[in-house]
Amino acid sequence: MDKAFESAEIKSAKERTRKIAVCIGATVAVAAVAGGLIIGSNSFSAQAGPTSEKLQDSLANVAKTDAETGEDVKVDTEAQVIKNLGEPGKLTMDGATKPSFEVTVHSVKVKKSCTLRGFDETITPENGVFLVLDVSASLAASAAKVVDEEIALMPLDASSFGSSPGENKNVVYDLNTVAAYSCEVDNALDIAVGAGDEIRGNVVLDSPYSTGQIVYDPDKTGGWTWSY
């Protein structure tokens, strides 16, 4: 690696660390105010008792606190763990502190049209707007040991994401339209992250909502949400 590139990398990493510190600071402040009970408008801390049985099931795999930071974990009424843009959603093995999977939505751009990839024609969304997500993700190499199949991965394509018009609103998941698939996008994200890999890139969704929340929930059993 040449020096110029090395210093740019270090700078970028420092900026990222600083941003994460700010996010954590904000979360700690909110948690302190909430005292582990219902926060703001209809979001829960994980240890609070939710009302519906379905929600109870979805919350079963939510940690009470972040094993890495010790912070309270906040969920909304859709059982999604609440994150800010740039803040990672995590999967951590019972008893471990370091997450084995992390996914972060860094930014969301709203577009009314895009270029049909390869064909230089303009296409429009089927659902409303195109959302171009800047997403990063990592999966620990150890993930390979616990998956029955030969290759362990976590999906990252448009079908893994949903959107809602705002906090605690119903999430829609059919955002992986052919229009979204067909959009030309720079640095397209791989369809999945494999064990031992760390990747970043852009994913295009076809969403009814130009503002609201992005949800990453590949199994539709509860995931993470970021407001945009």
Partner: protein, 484 residues
């Protein structure tokens, strides 16, 4: 009946048939340094290993040699047997005389090319052999271990076959015909006849030679009768032949002006055949198992498989067509959309469509991404990709074509020379975005269809096929994961 001195029963024993005594291990067996189970092992001899006993024995232990090693093994697991090893089998490289002595000056009989014999002894340049009829001496160079290849002769001119090489002793056995090929074993220079194998019997003829002969054909110039002989005054009608019928030719009888022809497998004589096709001749169409090809240029189809036939329509370069029939002269009947007609196959059809793309997922007619496939000059539905399977991952919008034991329904789009290269470039970009670990999930590959044609399609690579077939999602792997 009294046996003669050179009858095979009086042959001496062959020096190449010997009694052999052999000792083998009956189980996997240790070879030990001394005759005791506590002695160090020199190795385990696999079951069935041949060993050489030295003759030394102690109790139930034998000393044996195994390769370069000598040691002791339990005789309980060694079996010795004696058998006869026949290494005398040889073959004759040519027809040759058999002589009474190795000086080869007293002929007693003969032996044919490729005959299997038993070698009794070799002395100098002579070999003592035993055949089914004699034992005697031949030149040793004519006796080999491997059976020589069969030799053949071709009928140069239709003619007779006989029971004997000598015309004064022979009897007529039938006819052989121009161009036919027969196994050969002997040339009789005195009577200038070959010995050949016809219908399960060795016979003699003077009408064969080494050179291959191209078969000749004749065409019936008009409807007519066929006869059992050439002779006009004595022959009988044995059938009829239709104008235009193509038949193999055997001979021409100038006196009676009749051809010998093979009609429906039987040799008969006709006065209505000739070399050229009759006026208005249309070769018969032969139904073939359908297969597909692509046109190499714009083609005019003919109504019949003759150049002078009228047009049945035309097709563009690059169209996919189905071949349904063939006819003499390299003609094939093709179906292409609503058109059907005859063209010459050579240089007009090819197996691979250079701008043909087979699609199987959302790019098909009526599917969500079909509009991407615009600009084609021909589209054919219900085609099948051979040796393939389809896989889906978590995103149901994706289908991945992999190698597999089945066929996959596809639709084929043919593009013109002007649109084709650009379309392939665009599709390469369109289909190239799905990646895993930075490597594409699909690439454009040339694949076979069940109709024996080849086309481009977007298919998994060996890497992505593994991803498609062998990947599991971490999040679904167990309940030991917590979200935060």
């Amino acid at each position: 009946m009294q046996l003669g001195p050179y009858d095979p029963e009086n042959a001496p024993p062959s020096k190449y048939i010997k009694k052999v005594t052999e000792t083998r291990t009956t189980e996997n067996l240790n070879l030990r340094t001394s005759p005791s189970t506590s002695a160090r092992s020199l190795g385990v001899m696999p079951k069935g290993t041949v060993v050489q006993p030295t003759g030394k024995k102690q109790d139930a232990w034998w000393q044996v040699k195994w390769g370069s090693k000598t040691g002791w093994s339990s005789s309980k697991y060694l079996a010795t047997r004696t058998y006869v090893k026949d290494d005398s089998v040889r073959y004759m490289t040519r027809y040759t005389s058999i002589h009474a002595t190795k000086s080869l000056n007293q002929r007693i009989g003969s032996v044919n090319l490729r005959t299997q014999v038993s070698l009794l002894e070799v002395s100098g340049d002579s070999a003592h052999i035993k055949t089914a009829y004699y034992h005697g001496w031949v030149e040793a160079k004519n006796v080999v271990r491997t059976r020589p290849a069969k030799q053949y002769r071709y009928v140069q001119k239709s003619g007779s076959i006989y029971s004997h090489q000598d015309p004064s002793k022979d009897s007529y056995l039938g006819r052989i015909h121009h161009g036919e090929k027969y196994e050969y074993r002997r040339w009789d220079g005195t009577h200038r006849r070959d010995e050949i194998y016809v219908n399960g019997r060795w016979v003699w003829t003077n009408t064969t030679n080494r050179d291959a002969v191209t078969l000749q054909y004749r065409y019936a110039q008009r409807d007519g009768s066929v006869y059992n002989t050439a002779n006009k005054s004595s022959s009988k009608v044995v059938g009829s032949i239709k104008v235009g019928t193509k038949v193999r030719w055997g001979a021409w009888d100038a006196a009676n002006r009749r051809d010998e022809i093979n009609l429906n497998g039987k040799w008969v004589w006709s006065g209505v055949t000739d070399r050229g096709k009759p006026a208005g001749y249309i070769p018969p169409a032969v139904d073939v198992k359908n297969y597909a090809r692509f046109s190499t240029k714009g083609l005019t189809l003919k109504k019949n498989p003759v150049s002078s036939s009228s047009s049945a329509g035309s097709i563009k370069k690059g169209w996919k067509v189905t071949v349904t029939h063939k006819a003499e002269g390299g003609w094939v009947r093709i179906n292409a959309g609503s058109f059907s007609g005859w063209i010459k196959e050579a240089e007009n059809l090819r197996r691979h469509g250079p701008y043909s793309v087979a699609v199987y997922g959302t790019l098909r007619s009526g599917q969500s991404a079909y509009n991407v496939m615009g600009g084609f000059q021909q589209k054919v539905k219900d085609q099948r990709l051979a040796n393939a399977s389809l896989y889906q991952l978590w995103n149901r919008n994706w289908t991945f074509l992999t190698n597999g034991p089945k066929t996959v329904v596809a639709e084929q789009f043919q593009y013109s020379d002007s649109a084709g290269p650009g379309m392939l470039r665009k599709l390469d970009i369109y289909e190239g975005q799905l990646k895993y670990q930075g490597r594409p999930m699909y690439t454009r590959q040339n694949v076979y269809l069940t109709d024996e044609s080849q086309s481009w399609t977007y298919k998994t690579t060996s890497f992505s096929e593994k991803v498609v077939k062998n990947s599991g999602r971490y999040i679904s792997s167990g309940d030991f994961l917590k979200r935060s």
